[in-house]
């Protein structure tokens, strides 16, 4: 603040900031960013369309598209995917909304613990959760089914759960999709002013009636938005169905697209099969913005009075118990299963002094040759993508939030568009785009970098755009009046003010890259393997012990780097403030 005031003071060191002393690079930077974004998103999609619509000789054909409808082996997976995604959307909303309400609007004890556990399920890669649920709920070897039989004295092969079914897939998908709904709804409830609820209470409505008639309708846009996010996540997810659907002899659209890339590869059909996924995503996002208006969800109004907490009285403890019970499903049980698999010889054995072993730990750390290279690749990619992605999102968000250039709408569109491209589709597109000239990137880390950058950009962009909107332009105007160029204003004025938003965007991308599988599985080579792909490979040969060790290591590394980033970033923010 003080620096801005100093700059705003008339005549403050004008010579240093003379407009003519430096060329304003901002225009060039913005044009470069725009072109880069257009290529980043446009090129893979153009290749996808080309492959879907041409035959081997390059002539126009609709044969691939027609097969989507006529070929039962393509139509059936699409149907399964729609059933799964719809169910996941509904279940996630039904589970997350009440928990969000309890956490944001009641005096339930342990609210922070609940938030922390939900964050942990957000960081857990869904494919790791799926493998953990295999260990827990495979019909015969699953631990839960073991306990069930033992408890009731039942014979072998009687089981309570079968995870290799559509229901099982819906369940595991929901476990790792509901945090998205929770975050949106809890944020909306946090920001929602308490006036109307107060009015309702004053007029004599009982608390439950207020919650039902006032709070719920106010939170509804956020719930709907969350449902949509959960639906899209589930529709485009690759790892979980690949792990759970194939053993149950069925495909989803993502595993089908991937199988079309196996030998003998059929890129035309794979590209065509990607199109419904792409169109549906675009369509739903359009519907969402129509329904919720241009301002997006969760924005309800200024803060008038802080929300009132509902006193649950005796219901406090049952409410907490219910939350904990729900959180057992994505967090407590799966991590217990992974830990157990990591330290016992086979998962069928009970934990005892005889069965405890460091075999898997030793194997992964010292004998398994991909471990080091894959961790190295993963961390390099995650750090590079987070850094470049944050920088790019920052520039684009600045241009669009401040409406700097005439084409800012187009920039906004380009930075948001990748949200409509499922990872596996992008993987197919990038593979088609960068395996032939002029730029061959397949086989290098660059192609993975581009994939991750494209996938993670929209989230970072949205984060930073809202951060920009919270900073009034007058500070920048003051700097510009004092003669600072646009880039310098960005660096000296806005950057320090936006530090926490930038840090959040960086961590968000970083976590996203560490857990990404669907694009990587299309694009890796032996030299450019990442951990998620290594885990996926090990799962195909059933090495659960090694997977568990790698999965736990992946989480440890993720948390450690995020922690360091928070420390370093926080430190920078502190030192920047007094200056």
């Amino acid at each position: 603040m003080s620096s801005a005031e100093a700059l705003a003071a008339p005549g403050a060191a004008p010579a240093r900031f003379g407009p003519s002393s430096r060329v304003d690079l901002s225009g060039l930077v913005l044009i470069a960013c725009g072109l880069f974004l257009a290529a980043l998103v446009g090129l893979p999609l153009a290749w996808l369309a080309w492959y879907a619509l041409t035959d081997k000789d390059g002539a126009l054909t609709f044969a691939n598209i027609a097969r989507l409808v006529t070929d039962e082996t393509l139509a059936a997976p699409l149907k399964v995917s729609l059933i799964v995604a719809t169910s996941v959307g509904l279940i996630s909303a039904a589970v997350a909304a009440p928990i969000a309400w309890l956490v944001a609007r009641t005096n339930m004890p342990g609210r922070n613990l609940v938030r922390v556990l939900i964050t942990a399920s957000f960081v857990t890669p869904p494919f790791l959760g799926a493998i953990a649920w295999e260990i827990l709920a495979a019909p015969n070897s699953g631990l839960l089914n073991h306990w069930y039989r033992w408890l009731h004295g039942l014979p072998p092969f009687v089981h309570l759960f079968d995870i290799y079914t559509v229901t099982g897939l819906i369940f595991v998908d929901s476990c790792y999709a509901f945090p998205f709904v929770f975050v949106l709804v809890a944020n909306a409830l946090d920001r929602m002013p308490g006036d109307m609820e107060d009015a309702s209470a004053i007029l004599g409505a009982r608390p439950w009636r207020t919650a039902w008639r006032i709070t719920l309708p106010l939170a509804l846009p956020a719930i709907l938005a969350g449902m949509l996010v959960a639906f899209l996540r589930s529709l485009t997810l690759f790892g979980t169905p690949a792990i759970l659907a194939l053993p149950g002899n069925f495909h989803t659209i993502t595993t089908k697209i991937w199988s079309l890339f196996q030998y003998p590869p059929n890129p035309g059909l794979a590209a065509a099969a990607s199109i419904p996924l792409l169109l549906l995503t675009i369509l739903l996002l359009q519907v969402q913005s129509r329904v919720l208006g241009r301002r997006g969800y969760t924005v309800i109004g200024g803060k008038a009075s802080p929300p009132r907490l509902l006193h649950l009285k005796l219901w406090r403890w049952p409410a907490l118990a219910l939350c904990m019970l729900v959180l057992c499903l994505p967090i407590v049980l799966p991590y217990f299963a992974l830990l157990k698999a990591a330290v016992t010889t086979t998962i069928a054995e009970p934990i005892s002094a005889d069965t405890l072993t460091l075999k898997h730990v030793r194997f992964v750390l010292f004998e398994f040759s991909p471990t080091r290279l894959a961790f190295q690749n993963t961390v390099i990619l995650a750090v590079a993508t987070a850094t470049a992605g944050t920088a790019l999102a920052l520039v684009v968000a600045y241009a669009t939030a401040r409406k700097l250039v005439t084409g800012h709408r187009a920039l906004d569109f380009l930075a948001t568009a990748p949200i409509a491209v499922p990872g596996i589709v992008l993987g197919v597109g990038l593979f088609l785009a960068y395996t032939r000239g002029p730029v061959v990137l397949y086989g290098t880390l660059w192609i993975l970098f581009l994939a991750y950058l494209t996938i993670e950009l929209p989230a970072a962009y949205q984060q930073l755009q809202s951060a920009f909107q919270s900073v009034h332009p007058e500070l920048e105007e003051a700097a510009r009046l004092s003669g600072a160029g646009r880039m310098r204003t960005l660096r000296d004025i806005l950057a320090p003010l936006l530090k926490s938003g930038v840090l959040a965007a960086w961590c968000f991308i970083f976590i996203g890259v560490m857990r990404e599988l669907s694009a990587a599985v299309m694009l890796f080579t032996a030299q450019t393997k990442v951990i998620s792909v290594v885990i996926y490979d090990l799962n195909e040969s059933g090495d659960l012990g090694a997977i568990s060790v790698l999965g736990i290591a992946l989480l440890a590394v993720t948390f450690a780097i995020v922690y360091v980033a928070q420390k370093v970033g926080g430190g920078l923010a502190r030192t920047a403030r007094p200056a």
């Binding site: 082996t73 495979a138 019909p139 015969n140 070897s141 072998p156 092969f157 290799y164 659907a245 194939l246 053993p247 149950g248 002899n249 069925f250 495909h251 199988s259 890339f261 196996q262 030998y263 003998p264 590869p265 086979t346 998962i347 069928a348 194997f363 004998e367 398994f368 040759s369 991909p370 290279l373 395996t435 032939r436 061959v440 397949y442 086989g443 080579t525 032996a526 030299q527 490979d537 090990l538 195909e540 040969s541 059933g542 090495d543 090694a546």
Partner: protein, 353 residues
Amino acid sequence: MKQFRTELRPALAGIIAIVALAVGVTPGSALPEASPVTPALVEAARKEGKVVFYTAVDVEVAEKVGAAFRAKYPGIEIQVERSGSERLFQRVTQEYGSSIHNVDVINTSDAAHYILWKRQGLLAPHVPEDVAKHFGDNADPDGLYATWRATLSPLAYNTKFIKPGEAPKSFADLLDPKWKGLMVKAHPGYSGTILTATAQISRELGWDYLRKLGQQRVMQVQSSTEPPKKLAVGERPIMADGNEYNLFTLKEAGNPVEIVYPAEGTPFIPSPSAVMAKAPNPNAARLLQSFLFSAEMQQLLVDAGGLRSLHPATKEPAGRKPLKEIKLMRDDPAAVVDKVEEIKANYAKAFGT
């Protein structure tokens, strides 16, 4: 004559090899001259400093092979890339399609791959001394590849759940409704072992058998190394296909698994290895290929890997049924090579994925 050499010879060689295998005769050594491991080769390999080995063998066995190579030739780093045979084949196709020449030595359990690669000129001739001496029947006559290891795809059951007398004894027995929902098998789209086995089973028993098996709600996993593991943890009590070597190692480690060699014959799966023509480390690649066929490595495959070796100097541990006492299905990669797509399509129809 030239036509004959380029087009028919691989097929003919395959047939000769199969006949030789079945009858057990050596058709004289038609192999090119052997290239021994000379100090010069070791030195050249050391200069390259690295070798990349793509293999479909079980990941723990693969890492043991890597460790043995490192111990024998310190200073040459070996990168072991394990994946399913069909996945490796796709990987090489994908990488070579983009002119990425990453792999030095390759091993898959689908012998048809080598016929295709040979046609495409992707393999380099290299005849290790042990191959020249002992693998005449099981090596490519042009010295491009040889059978590094072999295994079978038998049936098996978990003894905790099924008594020996009640276990299925043949493929036909698997169609009994009482086994519905109780079997596990691997996928020919991923595993070369299973593709080879599926080719042999469909030839001997017809697709009708596999279609009926598809109605038995069989649990479908990817790698042929996984059904034995699922069997051992009791996820399913019967294995409808999968490899023999993981069964050996699991059984010998005390897991309750028992092998059944089906009455109709057991699919025999040879698993060749070869040096790539565009190997980035050609000397280290030759050194590794020679090492792979040495008696010590072959014995390691048998002892630690549970694999079948075609090296006569290897000794089978007690308790494993000798190969010559087992009724085998004939392997015929030359007949499979152009039918891969058909096999996969038929399979997808029968099993749903």
